[in-house]
């Protein structure tokens, strides 16, 4: 997976609205992402008319000819390709970049579900990645994203029950660092909160809260939620190369 595609993935993932995405508004499809023709009438076409940002095919529960074809080709991520306001096809983004990495575990630990333990998670994750000599800006992003995911695990997953552990695994590859935060609140999907809108919040039309997942998504390169009957895991990945490139931008 090229660095360009990783950056592209990061950009697309960070977008809430595909029409506002500068990549998708380019006249030519970006390098390393294929354009796939999608016919009106296919259920996937109807779904994408209303979906925004990147779509994970694994999470779709309906069946469609296009979906079967994409899955058979190993494509897991797609994004709408919009021209003049109309959906004309899909960008096949292939696998998640993190799937191409070889990971080694740096640390694994568990914390009680008590308020304030997100700070302990930040401290221990910081200690675990110390040998990687990460740039400060990337380390700060990682620690804040870990803190927010741990807070969610304590409050929403484990419902502030101290005896329920939050398990944190820290991994590294040559190109990236990844942290998995697992709570014991599986059995139902984590609800996607209403996208925060600052203007609505300032006008009192939206609760001032609801920034946690938004911050995590914007501070990391990849965020993935994996749920089963007993646990939720939120997986955060940050790429070293993207960070290096971002630092080189004047």
């Amino acid at each position: 997976m090229t660095a360009l595609l990783r950056k592209l993935w990061q950009i697309i993932w960070a977008q809430a609205e595909p029409k506002a995405d500068p990549v998708l508004e380019q006249s030519e499809p970006p390098v390393a992402a294929d354009l796939f023709e999608l016919l009106p009438g296919d259920p996937l076409f109807d779904f994408l008319q209303h979906a925004s940002g990147t779509v994970e095919l694994d999470r779709l529960s309906f069946d469609s000819p296009a979906l079967r074809q994409l899955r058979a080709a190993g494509v897991k991520l797609v994004a709408s390709r919009v021209s003049q306001g109309e959906l004309i096809g899909l960008l096949k983004l292939g696998k998640r970049p993190s799937e191409d990495q070889t990971w080694r575990t740096l640390a694994e630990f568990s914390l009680a579900s008590t308020t304030g333990n997100e700070r302990e998670a930040m401290r221990q994750v910081g200690q675990a990645v110390q040998a990687l000599s990460l740039p400060n800006s990337l380390l700060d992003r990682l620690k804040t994203a870990v803190a927010e995911a741990t807070m969610n695990a304590i409050e929403h997953g484990n419902k502030n029950q101290p005896e329920l552990p939050v398990v944190i695994q820290v991994q590294a590859s040559p190109d990236a660092v990844r942290v998995r935060i697992t709570d014991q609140g599986g059995g139902q999907p984590i609800p996607e909160p209403e996208a925060p809108n600052l203007e609505a919040k300032l006008a009192g039309l939206q609760t001032p809260r609801g920034w946690g997942l938004f911050l995590i998504k914007n501070l990391t390169d990849e965020m993935r939620i994996i749920s089963n009957d007993t646990q939720h895991t939120i997986e955060l990945t940050l790429y070293l190369e993207v960070e290096k490139n971002a630092n080189q931008t004047p």
């Binding site: 308020t115 997100e118 800006s137 992003r141 804040t144 600052l198 919040k201 300032l202 001032p208 938004f214």
Partner: protein, 115 residues
């Protein structure tokens, strides 16, 4: 790890109300920050400056409390600014877009010379 509470101190300088914040802006900051802001605007200052030089940590609940303050200031047409934020929290404020409604300054002296 126990949470650290936020400590606040209010000063006035040239019709700027400066609220010095020290510690963590988390859920517990609600009890101190909002009353401090209400006290700070009692003298009708030109601007309220949040001095965050001594702030060690801000979480999403803390962001929500700051957004509430900002909403209060915005609706009353009051000016709110901040100084002394670390580069990381400046980035967080930009992500949340609070910087569209709240001026950020590197430190207190640059804030006071501009405001």
């Amino acid at each position: 790890m126990p949470t650290k509470h936020l400590e606040v101190k209010i000063r006035y300088q040239a019709r700027v109300a400066i609220i010095d914040l020290s510690g963590e802006i988390n859920a517990s900051a609600d009890e101190t920050l909002k009353p401090a802001y209400l006290e700070a605007i009692e003298t009708n200052p030109r601007v309220v400056l949040l001095n965050m030089t001594q702030v060690e940590y801000i979480n999403s609940t803390g962001i929500a409390i700051l957004v509430e303050l900002l909403a209060q200031a915005y609706q009353a047409n009051h000016r709110l600014a901040a100084c002394g934020l670390s580069s990381h929290y400046q980035e967080v404020f930009q992500i949340v877009r609070m910087t569209d409604y709240m001026e950020l300054f590197a430190d207190e002296s640059s804030a006071l010379s501009t405001l």
